[in-house]
Symmetry: C2
Subunit: 318 residues, 2 copies
């Protein structure tokens, strides 16, 4: 099954095109997860806290969202122990039926890019010559700065392993325009030129719903740019960061969608995981209290986005 | 001590501005490293082979090169076990007096970029509130696609932890020009604009020799571009990929250096680690035979580069 179809089916069944960014922040994970952490190795202790927290969050939202987006940086910072917590999180999320979008913004050339692609999306050769999945994410975010030959190995992996990528096209941060908005000799911005390339590649990866697993990252904070990018990449799924904590609201993300209410998933991390409680509340709450609060925040985001979409797009398929 | 000074002092003492890329390729590591690999867990078995191979290579070349450049993709592909082998490799290389340039091309925004920076270059907060180094590399490569605000956290980490970065400015691959050569409204290419930014940041990070730990990646395969980039970034150290297997020769890398014979380190991976022996030889050699062959390849690269530099730059300081 094409992973983009799985993402779409999950979106339709949950009536929710928003995903939760699993960005563990040890300073903000509630105290009740930390009190009994095993402390043989301090990195292992943190990795255990992170995985327990993620597992409970996943259990609490698995029926509400189509996918989770773990951000690799927040695991990798704790070295191999953190990466092990990442692996367990991916595996658990998949076991609960969620699509896993790994946000790692990998980029390199030739066989080095191939190593990233095999490791994150595909399988790797072992000593005995057999091949085994390593991270086994469904989607991976990739950075296109090195040009199209640096993207080929990731696209090949999508074909070989039936996986997907989101290529950074227009990012949500303030400085994104310094490179991405530069106008090239053909009158297109760098973002638009990358979009054109993504769209060309997307063609052969479309699934049942007409969408492609070769997707794009388009920030919620640039809705004007999103209009032209949506036109340039009609078949590509968009991963939309920048909602909530970064300033994007429900109306800003409308241009990322098509008339069918599909074509994009919107990410929120901090507003779902942490900011619905104060520091003091996070210090004193029980796990159950905290998780219910996560569920409430998840439902609120679903309602906010769904109602705006429903109002705008009369041909929504869910 | 500024890490760039350590890199320079190692370069002077070895009379060698070339570094070895530690890119483990399990298909090319000689058979003698694989026969007795413990196989309880197939990923752990590979990680053990990789670390043993790296440790022996480091022992064999520690007196010949100033630094090693492990490429994270080739470790990370084996998940947390591979990352553990990476950590041990970094630690061992540093214990042998080598500078460690981590090639991971990390990039992200805000606190996510901060998580990468702390994890790879600095220290991370543990449950008890204390801070501990995680990967603890000396230098990290970073990709500037998201703009200057995405580079700030890495630059801050360089200041806080006395470390260095190499910002991708002009990469060695065929497609690098698609984005990097685009001419901006001020008449500069994207590469040149990034170079200007790097140079502005470099100023406050200069060490004893007048060079900065805020450096740049400039491919050996684009020597014309290197001329202008060297002028734009007089104080930044260059990390030069693309030598050897990718087609760059000793004369191509000359513009990356200054008159003092400093200002750049040239990387070679495959030509040092693997291609000096045939598949058949790698299947049959002893460890000692293989390692002597690595040493010979390392000495040859040193001689090739040093003789060309010495001939061109009469004011060389080594």
């Amino acid at each position: 099954m094409n992973v983009v179809d799985k993402l779409i089916e999950n979106t339709i069944s949950t009536k929710n095109p928003s995903v939760i960014g699993l960005d563990p922040d040890i300073g903000k994970i509630p105290a009740c997860y930390k009190v009994n952490a095993k402390r043989n190795n301090p990195f292992e202790a943190i990795a255990n806290v992170i995985y327990e927290f993620n597992r409970d969050v996943i259990d609490m939202v698995a029926d509400l969202v189509p996918a989770v987006k773990p951000q690799m940086a927040f695991y990798e910072k704790y070295g191999s122990y953190g990466v092990a917590a990442f692996e367990k999180t991916v595996s658990y999320a998949k076991s609960r039926g969620l699509v896993v979008i790994e946000d790692a913004k990998r980029n390199d050339i030739g066989n080095t890019a191939g190593a990233y692609a095999d490791g994150h999306l595909g399988c790797v050769e072992l000593l005995a010559g057999s091949c085994s999945p390593s991270f086994d994410a469904d989607f991976l975010t990739v950075t296109p700065f090195l040009g199209s030959d640096s993207l080929h190995p990731f696209i090949e992996a999508c074909e070989k392993y039936s996986k997907g990528i989101f290529v950074l096209v227009k990012t949500s941060n303030t400085s994104s325009g310094e490179i991405q908005d530069v106008v090239t000799s053909d009158g297109m911005t760098i973002s638009q030129r990358i979009a054109k390339y993504v769209s060309e590649q997307a063609g052969t990866f479309t699934g049942e719903y007409g969408y492609s697993s070769i997707g794009a990252v388009v920030g919620a904070t640039y809705s004007e740019e999103a209009v032209s990018l949506r036109k340039l990449m009609p078949k590509s799924y968009f991963l939309v960061p920048g909602y909530g904590a970064q300033g994007g609201g429900p109306k800003d993300i409308l241009p990322c969608f098509n008339e069918d209410g599909l074509g994009a998933v919107v990410n929120s991390s901090r507003a779902i995981l942490y900011t619905h409680m104060t520091n003091e509340e996070r210090a004193q709450c029980t796990r159950q209290e905290y998780l219910l609060s996560v569920r409430t925040a998840t439902l609120k985001m679903q309602e906010d986005i769904y109602s705006v979409l429903k109002n705008e797009y009369r041909q929504m398929v869910y």
